[in-house]
């Protein structure tokens, strides 16, 4: 196998996996053994092996969310050994490799926990609350018609870089999952600062932050107490500074918007 480590020994692991039939069922941790796991596998590939075993035995495979498997879609929401996306900093679960574990390890795998993220089944959770927050204001107006010229609106490089940094949020929800208060403020702040920095975002600048925060509260996320677990666990390194920007944007909008309601 190209690029693989010839000395890597296959591992045997004990998995403690949260199993839950559906949204209303009681769930519980179930133990499984997986054998001959290559250290070159990603964590999700290791779960694929488990599911193949389960299918062969005529059992229900473990449901878990995944899509791109290359760290860009934010689907792979697993709470591994007490940490969002596992103990490695700056990684999604799909980018976590089995070489970070040792032969004989016991690995506990749980879904994101937050009232606003109900468990659909096993490890798969419903994160549509994030979609509704984005729908409430995480967009910009565009004129219809022909394709606009590139660089029609000049944006200084420094601003573009900062906006891009905030735009790298992949909406994975690790911030909510790791926060003691299940607060979504890092996620909301990333979108609010990204669009507040760019001229294209200025049309809806005030209504955006008002509506997104209102929707965030309505979904039942908690209030930030500046603990910082979110930024520590965020796979793309969205910083706490964005939450300060969110609070400033929110206060400024509340004080000056034309919205009396």
């Amino acid at each position: 196998m190209a690029g693989s480590n010839p000395n890597a020994k296959p591992m045997n692991l004990t998995l403690k996996v949260w199993r839950q039939k559906n949204r209303n069922a009681q769930g519980s941790i179930v133990d499984y053994q997986v054998k001959d796991i290559s250290p070159d596998m990603s964590f999700l590939e290791m779960l694929d092996v488990l599911n193949e075993d389960l299918l062969r035995q005529g059992e229900e495979p473990v449901a878990f969310d995944h899509d791109c498997r290359e760290g860009i879609c934010g689907s792979c929401n697993l709470f591994i050994n007490g940490r969002a996306h596992g103990p490695e900093p700056g990684t999604t679960t799909c980018q976590l490799h089995m070489r970070k574990f040792n032969d004989g390890d016991t690995i506990t795998i749980e879904p994101w926990r937050a009232n606003a993220f109900p468990v659909n089944k096993d490890l798969s959770v419903d994160r549509s609350a994030f979609d509704r927050i984005i729908q409430a204001g995480g967009y910009i107006s565009v004129n219809t018609g022909g394709t606009p010229d590139a660089n029609e609106i000049p944006i200084p490089k420094e601003i573009a870089d900062r906006a891009f940094e905030a735009a790298t949020c992949i909406a994975c929800g690790a911030c909510v999952a790791s926060c003691k208060n299940a607060s979504a403020m890092l996620f909301v702040s990333a979108k609010v600062s990204q669009l507040a920095l760019l001229p294209q975002g200025h049309v809806e600048r005030k209504s955006r932050v008002e509506n997104m925060v209102a929707q965030m509260d309505k979904e039942g996320f908690g209030a930030c107490t500046n603990i910082g677990s979110c930024a520590a666990e965020c796979p793309v390194g969205i910083s706490l500074e964005n939450i300060a920007i969110l609070n400033r944007e929110f206060l400024a909008a509340k004080a000056t918007s034309n919205n009396l309601a």
Binding site: K16, W18, G27, I29, F79, N81, G82, R83, P87, T108, E110, R113, A114, N115, A116, S178, K180, N181, A182, S183, M185, V213, A214, M216, D217, G220, F221, G222, A223, C224, T225, N226, I227, G228, S229, A232, E233, L240, E241, I243, A244, I245, L246, N247, R248, F250, L251, K254, N259, L260, A261
Partner: protein, 224 residues
């Protein structure tokens, strides 16, 4: 008025209330500490009693007292209400294995617990001094001022109070080690140039203020 009530009932608005009242309470701590430092004066409480008489009867101070009570009231109510809301947001089913200690500090996660210890201390503290001075007839010293110094002397001969007061200050210390800089972040006052200084001042403030307050019962218990 609805946009105003909406602002201050939103999660961010309520946090703003916490931050503003929290920093206001920090300013109160400074005033309270500076006045109380007169307890260390070797004049058997003459200056302290005069100061305490002034604080008890000056109309401006009595008006500010109302602001202080409101500040405490909002801070405590919102603090406990937000803590309950945040616990509910987490949901009933917690993580079976949770290593949150690997990504955050204990005291930043324990603001409600630390605040509650401070609150318990505060109630006993008010009962010890404020209650006696305001609501009972306290003997007067040679200058005709209420002898608050004698109350302090008596209270801090009781080891139970000494221990409780020191515990109260340790709780306040940890509350402020997180709370001071946290309040600036809440108010949006975060900047890579100034935040390190705010953190440093916050640590210094918390340690100096709490150590000085804790020194009072210890000093009276052992040396008076």
């Amino acid at each position: 008025m609805s946009w105003i009530t909406k602002t201050f009932s939103s999660s961010i608005g309520r946090k703003i209330i916490m931050a503003v009242t929290g920093l206001f309470l920090c300013s109160f701590l400074v005033v309270h500490l500076v006045g109380n430092l007169q307890l260390f004066k070797a004049d058997n409480g003459v200056a302290f009693n005069a100061y305490s008489e002034f604080m008890g009867h000056n109309p401006l101070i009595r008006t500010l007292e109302i602001v202080l009570v409101l500040g405490f009231g909002f801070h405590i109510y919102e603090g406990l209400a937000l803590a309950a809301k945040n616990r509910a947001a987490r949901g009933n089913q917690g993580y079976v294995v949770d290593h949150i200690e690997q990504n955050s500090s204990w005291h930043s996660r324990s603001m409600a617990l630390l605040g509650s210890i401070v609150l318990f201390f505060l109630i006993v503290h008010l009962y010890n001094f404020f209650g006696s001075l305001r609501f009972t007839d306290v003997p007067r010293d040679a200058n005709g001022n209420e002898d608050a110094y004698a109350l302090v002397l008596a209270a801090f001969k009781n080891p139970f109070y000494v221990v409780l007061y020191v515990i109260g200050q340790v709780a306040l210390l940890y509350h402020l080690l997180h709370g001071f800089s946290s309040a600036f972040q809440t108010l949006g006052l975060t900047h890579r140039k100034y935040t390190p200084a705010i953190k440093f001042i916050g640590y210094g403030f918390s340690i100096i203020v709490c150590a000085a307050f804790a020194a009072m019962p210890i000093y009276f218990f052992f040396f008076k």
